[in-house]
């Protein structure tokens, strides 16, 4: 589904000291499953998500999604794919404060009919926050806000979910619940979870490790071997 070929993302291009956010990234992945992206702060984890989702254009290299090169698409086409095929969960949820919970969930939906509202209600119910549908974001706890963000990300049944540190602001219990929901969704779609906490990606089919903008294949293989050992 995704293929990254020699992707580089460079900041401060043209200045004396350039900064590589991503350096020669190559990998591909299938169309479903949970993929963890780990690494320390500033290693380039979020940059991979932004490049894959078309929010940032790589300085060089290509990002191919379903056979189409995302970085060469027109802005409107990229926006259309993000709206219809991708779902996003950000670290602090980023809900629109003046909208109710259900309206926040419906933000990415084109048609606001009863059908869409029912779908949003089912999702909220599944996430255990249906009773909060009419509340405003500032009335919610961190865990509840993140669930709203998940509902918003899943409302269009996206083929790919990009979750950037989805549990960073949550306690352990809420973090496990959020990851459980994402793992469940990854049965039928591709879910990328960026985190620096390896304990939350136990359900990942693959873990990509990034260090200073480059893939750290040593750690990735080590994690894979450990997991295979655990399964035996």
């Amino acid at each position: 589904m995704f293929e990254l070929k020699n992707v580089n993302l460079v900041y401060d291009l043209g200045k004396e000291d350039v900064t590589y956010a991503l350096k020669n990234i190559n990998f591909n992945c299938e169309d479903k499953g949970l993929i963890g992206i780990i690494g320390p702060s500033g290693s380039g984890k979020s940059s991979i998500l932004y490049v894959m989702s078309g929010l940032k254009r790589p300085t060089s290299g290509t990002v191919v999604y379903n056979g189409r090169s995302i970085d060469k698409m027109q802005l409107d086409m990229k926006a259309g794919i993000r709206l219809k095929e991708f779902g996003f969960i950000f670290q602090r949820g980023f809900l629109i404060e003046y909208l109710s919970v259900i309206d926040n969930v419906l933000v990415p939906v084109n048609e606001k009919g009863i059908e869409a509202k029912s779908k949003a209600a089912i999702l909220l119910d599944k996430l255990g926050i249906l009773k909060l549908a009419d509340k405003k974001p500032y009335q919610l706890s961190g865990g509840q806000r993140q669930r709203v963000a998940i509902a918003r990300a899943l409302i269009n049944n996206p083929k790919v979910v990009f979750a950037d540190e989805p549990t960073a602001a949550l306690d352990h219990k809420s973090a496990s619940e959020v990851m459980q929901i994402l793992a469940e969704y990854s049965q039928s779609a591709l879910v990328f979870v960026v985190t620096h906490d390896t304990s939350i990606i136990g359900d990942a089919v693959r873990v990509i490790s990034i260090w200073d903008g480059s893939l750290d294949l040593g750690i990735e293989n080590k994690i894979q071997n450990t997991r295979q050992g655990d399964r035996k």
């Binding site: 926006a79 259309g80 709206l83 003046y98 084109n110 048609e111 606001k112």
Partner: protein, 365 residues
């Protein structure tokens, strides 16, 4: 694409745009009030200068250098009810609003009998004015308003534009629908003391009078024609309008820059919201359109409230101060209302750069 329920974007964001709406409101109110003020000055000048000339044709003075022989010649050679022989230095006029050609001419001369005789007015009731603010009225005019001897026409009498109460002491018959009185010298508003002859209206019946005066006297005495008076008025209006335009432009630029900064700050506070919409798949064009809509709603509301504020202020001033002086702000000026639209338009133009700048995705960390 409709990501948000109807007007949710606007509903939620209007409070954030309140400073903009208030500033637009104040700017519009100031500009529209200035327009009303200028209009009032123009009207005042017109009434003082143009209107008497249009209606009366000729005022000339026996104290203004015009010889008695010439006055007699004029009297003999022209027959028109609207010729008055008064010293123009000593007269003021009170308008009777809504009654064509009707003036109360107030003279500083103590004896107005010669003037009455010259006009061929015949006193049929009462006496001639002996004291300031006493008047004699044309019979038709008195009948029309139901005024009798002893009636006091107060300054708030409907349809009259006067500054002091007038007492009716006599009724006369004559062709002119007007009245005469004796003015309190302390409130006389002298006209140009060098004017000897005022040549008035081009209206059909008065043309012979004007032609006669111009032909026989324009070389001999300084005359003031209606055209010259209009030129004076235009010369007066020009600087006023230019000043108004200048203040308006400065105001718009200052407020524009000020608002542009306010909008930048307001949208900076909402940067995450705009970036979020951009990230989840709404185009910059779409988001900017939404932002433009809410700026337009805020500016539009400011405009409407600003006009209402200026009208309310003008109305209040009319009621409290101006009406008793025989003046009033014109409250509804279609052209000015349209011109003042430049404020919300400029504000929208100045303000749009902020959302344009902020919809570019940076980093939603």
């Amino acid at each position: 694409m409709k990501p948000l329920s109807a007007f949710a974007f606007i509903k939620g964001s209007i409070p954030k745009l309140l400073p903009m709406a208030i500033t637009v409101c104040l700017a519009v109110a100031v500009l529209y009030f200035m327009a009303m003020f200028t209009q009032q000055i123009n009207t005042g000048v017109e009434e003082a200068g143009i209107y008497p000339l249009e209606k009366m044709s000729l005022i000339l003075g026996d104290k203004s250098g015009v010889s008695k022989d010439d006055i007699n010649n004029i009297g003999k050679n022209i027959s028109n009810s609207k010729i008055f022989v008064i010293n123009p230095i000593d007269v003021t006029y009170y308008n009777i609003i809504g009654y064509t050609s009707a003036f109360i001419i107030m003279s500083g001369q103590k004896d107005i009998e010669p003037i009455m005789k010259m006009q061929n007015f015949k006193l049929i009731e009462g006496c001639l004015p002996q004291k300031p603010m006493e008047i004699v009225l044309n019979k038709k005019l008195a009948e029309n308003y139901g005024f009798k001897l002893g009636t006091v026409i107060r300054k708030n009498t409907k349809g009259w534009r006067i500054e002091k109460d007038l007492k009716v002491v006599g009724i006369f018959e004559g062709r002119a629908v007007t009245g005469m009185g004796m003015e309190d010298e302390s409130i006389l508003k002298p006209r140009n003391p060098y004017i000897s002859l005022l040549v008035g209206s081009d209206a059909g019946s008065l043309q012979p009078v004007n032609k006669y005066i111009e032909k026989n006297f324009s070389g001999k005495y300084q005359t003031l024609t209606l055209e010259a008076e209009k030129n004076t008025l235009n010369n007066f209006n020009g600087p006023i309008n230019a000043l108004e335009l200048f203040i308006g432009l400065v105001l718009i630029c200052v407020i524009g820059v000020f608002l542009s900064n306010i909008t930048s700050i307001q949208y900076s506070l909402r940067r995450k919201e705009l970036e979020l919409l951009n990230a989840i798949g709404y185009t910059r064009k779409y988001i900017v359109k939404k932002a433009l809509k809410e700026i337009a709603v805020a500016a539009g509301l400011g405009y409407i409230v600003g006009i209402l504020l200026a009208v309310a202020l003008g109305w209040g001033m009319n009621i409290c101060f101006l009406s008793e002086k025989g003046m009033s702000f014109p409250l509804f000026l279609g052209g000015s209302m349209f011109s003042v639209l430049i404020v919300p338009a400029a504000i929208i133009l100045f303000s749009i750069k902020a959302p344009l700048k902020l919809t570019k995705f940076r980093d939603l960390a």
